[in-house]
Point group: C2
C-alpha cells in the first residue's frame, strides 16, 4: 500500500514548503504582503505540534516541526525587520 508514503511525503513537503518563502523574504526584503497574524498563528501551530510530538514521543513529528519552527521563525523575523 502506498498510503503511508503519501503521509510521509505530505509531512516532508509540509516541513520544507516555506523555505522558498523565507529565502524570498530575506532576499527581496519585500514582506509588506505577508500577514504577520497568519505567520504568528502558524508559528504557534508548529510549536504546538512540536510539543505534541514530545508528549507522545513521536520522533517524525518532533523533527519535522523543529525544522518548521526554524523556517517560520526566520519568516517572522524578516517580517518584523522589514515591515
Amino acid at each position: 500500500m502506498i498510503t503511508p508514503y503519501i503521509g510521509y511525503l505530505a509531512a516532508i513537503l509540509g516541513t520544507i514548503c516555506w523555505l522558498p518563502q523565507a529565502w524570498k523574504a530575506w532576499a527581496t526584503r519585500d514582506t509588506a504582503g505577508l500577514s504577520l497574524v497568519s505567520n504568528l498563528m502558524f508559528l504557534l501551530t508548529v510549536l504546538l505540534w512540536f510539543g505534541y510530538g514530545l508528549l507522545i514521543g513521536d520522533w517524525p513529528l518532533i523533527l519535522a516541526n523543529f525544522c518548521a519552527i526554524l523556517i517560520v521563525l526566520s519568516i517572522v523575523a524578516a517580517k518584523l525587520k522589514f515591515g
Copy 2:
C-alpha cells in the same frame, strides 16, 4: 491528560491560520512578497493530507484539509491574479 487537546488545537489553528493571509492578499492586492513556489508546495501538502485522510478514513484530517485547500487556493489565486 491535555495531550490530545494540544493536538486538536494545533490541527484547528493550522487550518485557520492562513485566513488572515488570504484576506490580506485580496484586500491589499499586494502579493509581490508572497512566494508562489511556497504556496504551491503548501497546496500540494494539504491535497496530500486530504488524500491521506480519505485513504485512512480519518474525518478530522479530511475536514481540516478540505478547509485548508480552499484557503490556500484563494491565496494562490490572488498571487496569480495580482503577481
